[in-house]
Amino acid sequence: MQVNSNEEFYLRYYVGHKGVYGHEFLEFEFRNDGRLRYANNSNYKQDVLIRKECFVSEAVITEIKRIIEDSEIIKENDSKWPAPDKIGRQELEIKLGNNHISFTTSKLGSIQDVQNSQDPDGLRVFFYLVQDLKCFVFSIISLHFRIKPVN
């Protein structure tokens, strides 16, 4: 895999819903210059508004890119994926070199939701990639800021 630090790179993931407790969401965004922004809004029981920003090294950015490329998410498309609904919404936007994807779908509670969809193979790629990215970001944020991200 060729790593080109000059190529365009952008990653944004959002998951959330609007309900009785307001707009609850998790969102993170990576930019090519290493800036990572992390936002966590949870209004359940007490307002928790977390907004953190840091700059990760190029080594971290290339690892994120590797994870994205290995997943082959770029080959998928969301045309047959479940639309966002009252339960919630997920957004995944990635720019990697000349490739640009922007997917929107509902929340996925479990692998069962994936199996039952009209595009289980594609949605499965999304499902696991999102988990892997969240895992990485939670580690980065919790280690750097010594906070426990709310899942």
Binding site: S5, Y14, E27, L49, E53, F55, E63, C135, L143, R146
Partner: protein
């Protein structure tokens, strides 16, 4: 340069909600200290490596405060990277230099580097590519 995020939820970052907190740093460039220590990223880790393997390799250079060896959520094997936190800059720096040159972990060479860097200088036209 990424364009500004456009979405239909402009309420996400209104007012106070738009203030992103970061740690203070002196003028860059270079690695950035985390809240209580110095964090390195390790890449290319063998699929079947265990936390102990990573711990043993790194604790040679100083006491380890934290270690995250994340798993691939689908396969259950390690994803391939780890984040290791040292209390001291010198220990982290020694580990980076030594382990990059070594035979790695579980017989597989790994790449170690700082995980965080200081923010690019304000008003700089170009990002500094080298840390």
């Amino acid at each position: 340069m990424s364009k500004k995020q456009t979405n239909d939820n402009s309420d996400r970052y209104k007012g106070e909600a738009g203030n992103f907190q970061s740690l203070e740093s002196d003028d860059g460039p270079g690695p950035m200290k985390s809240i209580e220590g110095w964090i390195v990223i390790v890449k290319g880790i063998h699929e079947e490596a265990q936390e102990d393997d990573v711990f043993d390799a790194f604790s040679k250079y100083g006491p380890i405060k934290n270690l995250h060896l994340n798993l691939d959520r689908r396969t259950g094997f390690v994803k391939g990277y780890a984040l290791v936190e040292f209390n001291e800059y010198q220990h982290a720096s020694d580990a980076i230099n030594a382990i990059n040159k070594s035979e790695g972990i579980c017989g597989k060479k790994v790449q170690v580097d700082w995980a965080f860097k200081k923010p690019p200088k304000k008003g700089a036209l170009k990002q500094t590519k080298k840390q």
